[in-house]
Symmetry: C2
């Protein structure tokens, strides 16, 4: 809820990936939840307007984490889902483990590993900033690669793809 | 997420309450979450369009419940918060215990007690239907009564009030 990472990646399985954009939608912790959700909606709408992705990927929220955090994350991801679905964009969810496994080969990779691989896979000169948006880019990459395994997503990838990782850090968008 | 109760109540502290509307926004359990959230948004927007409440009250989601349920509830309530905040309507949250205590005198009252008191307080000929929307009406009544205790809400109540109880059952709206 405080920092919702956003990443936009162009790519398709077997082709080079290209980072189109990366950033964070921030909301002030002292603000009340309804206003924060509205700010997240406005922030995500700006990203969607600017990049017009074909698909939005969102981090799947997990129950086993701290419950307060989970609720904020669930609410932020609900906003991301709404923004995408209102535009008729397909929404796909990936777990943090799926994302880590996709970009590092290990579902238990640490943040440094994920950032290193995101930097390499997107052929960036330096790690993406803000640092916590690297997760959003990783989610995008995961989606482009995993999406290709599914017929549903394969069809969607024929167009463009986008993904979102709300709550703690990241939301991402890709284009295929 | 499956049944989001909605109640609309006109009232002010010390004055008779009047039920304006009651219902449930339903979404099919087999549908994917993003589409269900969109359906909830559309359903709540229709209620807001039809009744133009001054305030929206939403059930505060709790962590200690079943975590899967909590996440769906958190997401549905996020949608309700967004719908209200986008219209510039104040949003207030009340816990289930606050609601039960407000209408029955006990924070641990059972469903039958809550329904009986809602029926009495709104001077209905029969318990409100659908049954699980009684909670939404109880939330509305709680809000009208408790709201008056707070200066912030008192100011808001000078206009009109509305409340929402999403997720399991109920969302409600009141007018003061």
């Amino acid at each position: 809820m405080t920092r919702c990472g956003v990443g936009v990646v162009d790519g398709a399985p077997g082709q080079p990936l290209r980072m189109v954009g990366v950033g964070v939608v921030r909301t002030p912790a002292e603000e009340e939840v309804p206003r924060r959700l509205l700010a997240i909606e406005q922030g995500l709408e700006s990203w969607l307007d600017a990049h017009r992705p074909d698909i939005v990927a969102i981090e799947r929220v997990f129950a086993q984490h701290n419950v307060r955090t989970v609720m904020g994350t669930a609410q932020a991801s609900a906003v991301a889902m709404l923004c995408a679905t209102r535009r008729g964009l397909p929404v796909v969810l990936h777990t943090p483990s799926e994302v880590k496994a996709a970009v590092t080969g290990s579902g238990r990779a640490d943040k440094a590993q994920v950032t290193a691989m995101v930097t390499r896979l997107l052929r960036l000169d330096a790690p993406p900033k803000p640092a916590d948006a690297a997760d959003a880019l990783a989610l995008s990459i995961c989606h482009i690669w995993r999406g290709s395994a599914s017929a549903k997503l394969a069809a969607a990838l024929a167009g463009t793809t986008s993904s979102v990782r709300p709550a703690r850090p990241a939301r991402k968008e890709y284009r295929a």
